[in-house]
């Protein structure tokens, strides 16, 4: 459940192991660029029957709306082209800190008042931050008084963040402490080394929350400037799901975005360069397990190979116990608890990654099995039975992917931000059904090159 590779793996006492079971929901969302992008990938397929309305607000913002009155609640998200890819090497961590601080003082309201006004009406607001996107989401009861108070706070946070100096200093210290802690933990070390190795100088390779040295130098001015440059109505995507009418949704979208700057700054981001040779990095760590990541830059959102790679990856390492990687690593050999592969499509080529954790002494064996499984899959493609199983799961399981307001809101954000067609959900099962084994094999051969992959092993035995 908490496992990012929770692909049907039996789970032990997940609540227990989190240490503390909090009985009430909290209004903050944890940061997690990689995890967030996995979630986005995970919900990609869709369902016929979600009626999406879309329009452009007077402010210039793009709006996506699904009207549904089953529950007396409303979900809203507003996202901007302000993710970690907009960081620059001198000011790493600026994008992340800007997003997280917007709610900590806005429109003259202190962070405490903002938190109280939300909690007083039972509303939940949280920041989200990924490589491409950054923004806020809000869940509130739809009854007039609660909705009004919650939307008022969200509007203030989006359009009038203050970045109070004292809060900037405190939060910088918290981020720096968290970065130092992350630098001791094998999973974080592996993620950071992997991104850096596959992307080089491209912003996708930068640590999303920055480095200790760069965060220490950030100023209130830096955050304010970044906010003014990137949080503009022209790049805003407003997603609205739930118990309001079209007219109410139109008014909400205007209200949330009218106070934003109109135009977004135009800054080119370099192209993602493909890898030209294999590269292996072994990092020592005293942990009992080695964390192994293998991969390369993968595909963009809207890529013509997307459906073939998505379906093929179900067979390779995305389909849990149906996948070859989990069968070879776990079912046949007991080498790991979790083993997976995924493509995480982004504005530019998002990562393709194979990952597993195994007992230190088994690291080389597990790595070899993973590599051989990938090579064999690219050579053979999926069998007829594997292809059928993958299609059945994705197509028949379609209604599960949009059975809650939370999931639909997530979709609206992805479709809006990545300019996917409004029929994307309705089209999905058909597109999956059309893919052939030959197309999968062909797409993998062209897009994944086993002789040019990055391999990161944290906690490997010393050589």
């Amino acid at each position: 459940m908490e496992d990012k590779a929770a692909v049907g793996i039996q789970d032990s006492g997940f609540r227990e192991q989190m240490g503390l079971k909090l009985t009430l929901n909290k209004s903050s969302i944890r940061w997690g660029g990689l995890l967030a992008c996995l979630l986005v990938l995970g919900i990609t397929p869709a369902h016929a029957g979600v009626k999406i309305q879309s329009w452009q607000a007077q402010s210039g913002a793009k709006v996506l709306f699904v009207e549904n009155h089953d529950l007396p609640m409303l979900d809203v998200s507003v996202q901007f082209d302000a993710g970690s890819r907009r960081d620059i090497s001198k000011r790493l961590g600026r994008a992340s800190l800007t997003a997280s601080l917007m709610q900590l003082g806005a429109g003259g309201l202190s962070e405490e008042v903002i938190a109280k006004r939300l909690a007083d009406v039972g509303a939940q607001m949280g920041a989200s931050f990924e490589q491409d996107r950054a923004g806020y989401s809000l869940r509130t009861l739809s009854s007039a008084r609660e909705r009004e108070q919650a939307l008022q706070i969200l509007t203030t946070v989006l359009t009038a963040p203050d970045f109070p100096e004292a809060v900037v200093q405190r939060e910088k210290a918290r981020v720096i402490a968290a970065l130092k802690e992350a630098a001791t933990q094998p999973a974080s070390i592996a993620d950071k080394a992997f991104s850096k190795a596959i992307y080089g100088a491209h912003p996708y390779g930068l640590p999303p929350d920055g480095e200790v040295e760069t965060v220490a130098k950030l100023t209130r001015e830096d955050l304010l400037n970044f906010y003014k440059l990137r949080y503009a109505a022209a790049s805003a995507v407003v997603a609205i799901m739930g118990d309001v009418t079209r007219a109410e949704a139109e008014a909400i979208a205007e209200r949330l975005t009218t106070g934003l700057a109109a135009e977004v700054a135009c800054e080119d981001i370099p192209a993602v360069e493909p890898l030209v040779q294999a590269y292996t990095e072994r990092i020592a760590h005293p942990a009992s397990q080695a964390h192994i990541l293998i991969g390369a830059p993968g595909i963009k959102r809207g890529d013509k190979d997307y459906f073939a790679l998505y379906l093929g990856n179900y067979v390779l390492g995305g389909g849990g116990f149906d996948s070859r990687i989990l069968k070879e690593i776990r079912q046949k050999r007991g080498l790991a608890y979790s083993a997976y592969s995924y493509f995480a499509p982004l504005k530019q080529e998002g990562p393709f990654q194979i990952g597993l954790q195994t007992k230190k002494q088994d690291a080389d064996t597990a790595l070899k099995v993973a590599q051989e499984t990938l090579v064999r899959f690219i050579q053979e493609g999926p069998s007829a039975a594997e292809l059928k199983q993958a299609k059945n799961n994705i197509v028949l399981g379609f209604p599960l992917r949009i059975d809650s307001n939370a999931e639909i809101l997530n979709y609206l954000g992805v479709i809006g931000f990545y300019d996917l067609p409004l029929t994307y959900l309705d089209d999905f099962p058909g597109k999956i059904n059309q893919v052939t084994a030959r197309e999968i094999q062909d797409a993998f051969k062209r897009r994944v090159h086993p002789d040019k992959l990055v391999t990161v092993i944290v906690g490997a035995p010393e050589k």
Binding site: G13, G19, T23, L24, L71, K116
Partner: protein, 458 residues
């Protein structure tokens, strides 16, 4: 002024009924073999969740075979007399389903989420593995390796996981909550197929299980299907469950755990009551509201006072779960800011608790927590899976699913005086256990920069 107004508005809203959106009541039926079937109809989406809960968790284990409840959970996917190993998962996946299972201290549960017309498949497969599991040495030998790797990943290499495990082992002397759900590594190394077999034969029976089905189904149809597939299974005599009551604690216990990390970590826990009678109990509700006042929102006392005002903590949270079979714990965990010690942090937490014991909590902050409780009742309905979870947890804790709403009503009725009294009565040093993470340096090598020629143009 503004705050007073908010308080008034909030109070007015508390009394507002949500009648027009009222959810349907769950329906229940007990089959002649003792299987309790509970159906929660929810027709928002054409989806159904099926969950089989066994009242057997790590608290039913014995020393020497800790972790066997969870190992058996893994083995439940390894084949029956008619469904070969791995086929359970394969058939559910082929029907478009998602499935998984989890083991806790109090229970083990297996679940599938499917398009609504596929429910029968899940019930047929679950009924089959309730009785006909095949436990082969060959499958066991491989799967126990997976579980050992799970333990390394989940606990051994996670500093906070290690602290929690050691904390529980010190806080409890006799009660089985003292060992981890995943089991001690040595027990996992010594475990045999026969241990798993004994566990399965002892606890896996219709009269020790609850079937919860939630989603776009009709209760009558579910009862018929349950009878068809689970009905033929015979009830078994269940072993006597002894209480293993924890002896009274009479002084603070302290422990330190060393692990590779940068930041220290503090975990404090006080023995506390849990719900035994959801309608009559009062203290567990007061403690739940106390946890809420301490950390249920960003303006609550711990984040406000320790993280923002004094900046002594990087993070600080309170947690308390009163729906469980075993004894309860009121927990506070926190990470000191850089340059602050755990001793300073503990002193600051004690100061916050003393304030509540001395001055109580305000109506305003109590109402804020109640507003969240009430809203969460609506939000929870966005997830059919969660609705099933709530039912299963209340049932396996012996409280009964009919009391899900009772809990909310009782929480809404908690007074500021009751919260203060609960803090005074339960958050006392005699009942306290304190665990500290003493972070150790890695002595690892610094990562090197990737070579220049790795990328085109790089």
């Amino acid at each position: 002024m503004a705050n007073k107004l908010l308080k008034f508005l909030c109070m007015a809203w508390l009394g507002l009924p949500l009648a027009s959106f009222a959810a349907s009541e769950a329906q229940e039926k007990i089959l002649p073999n003792g299987l309790k079937v509970i159906v929660k109809e929810d027709h928002r989406a054409p989806v159904v969740v099926s969950q089989v809960w066994y009242k057997a968790g790590s608290m039913d284990e014995s020393n020497g075979t800790t972790g066997v409840a969870h190992v058996l959970e893994h083995m439940m996917f390894k084949g029956t007399q008619s469904v070969p190993s791995g086929d359970f998962s394969k058939r559910i996946a082929a029907a478009g389903g998602r499935e998984n299972a989890f083991t806790n201290r109090d229970h083990t549960a297996y679940f599938q989420t499917l398009e609504k017309s596929k429910l029968e498949l899940a019930l047929k497969l679950e009924a089959d593995r309730m009785r006909n599991l095949v436990l082969s040495d060959q499958e066991f030998t491989k799967e126990i390796e997976v579980v050992r790797n799970e333990r390394r990943w989940r606990t051994d290499d996670k500093p906070h996981g290690l602290v929690y495990e050691q904390f529980m082992a010190v806080a409890f002397n006799a009660h089985p909550y003292r060992w981890p759900v995943i089991g001690w590594m040595n027990d996992l190394e010594q475990m045999t197929t026969q241990d798993a077999r004994t566990w399965y034969q002892r606890w896996y029976a219709p009269n020790n299980a609850v079937l919860v089905v939630a989603g776009d189904v009709s209760a009558d149809q579910v009862f018929k299907l349950a009878q068809k597939y689970f009905g033929p299974l015979k009830a078994k005599p269940l072993p006597l469950r002894k209480p293993q009551a924890e002896p009274a604690q009479d002084g603070t216990r302290r422990l330190t755990v060393k692990a590779p990390a940068k930041l220290p970590y503090l975990l404090m826990g006080w023995k506390a009551p849990v719900l035994r009678d959801a309608a009559k109990d009062t203290d567990p509700y007061a403690l739940e509201m106390l946890a809420g006042v301490l950390s249920a929102n960003a303006a609550a006392r711990l984040p406000q006072s320790l993280v923002r005002d004094s900046r002594i903590a990087q993070d600080a949270d309170a947690g308390y779960d009163n729906v469980q079979r075993g004894p309860g714990m009121f927990l506070i965990d926190a990470t000191p800011s850089e340059g602050k010690s755990v001793a300073e942090l503990e002193a600051a937490i004690r100061t916050e608790l003393d304030k509540i014991k001395r001055d109580g909590v305000t109506e305003e902050e109590l109402n804020r927590v109640k507003a969240q409780v009430i809203a969460s009742k609506v939000y929870q309905r966005d997830s059919v899976f969660y609705q099933g979870m709530q039912i299963g947890e209340m049932e396996t804790a012996g409280l009964g699913h009919r009391h899900i709403d009772t809990r909310l009503e009782k929480l809404k009725a908690v007074t500021a005086a009751a919260v203060q009294a609960a803090a005074k009565q339960y958050l006392v040093d005699e009942q306290l256990t304190v665990a500290v993470l003493d972070p150790q340096p890695l002595e690892g090598k610094k990562p090197v920069a990737p070579p220049k020629g790795l990328h085109h143009g790089g």
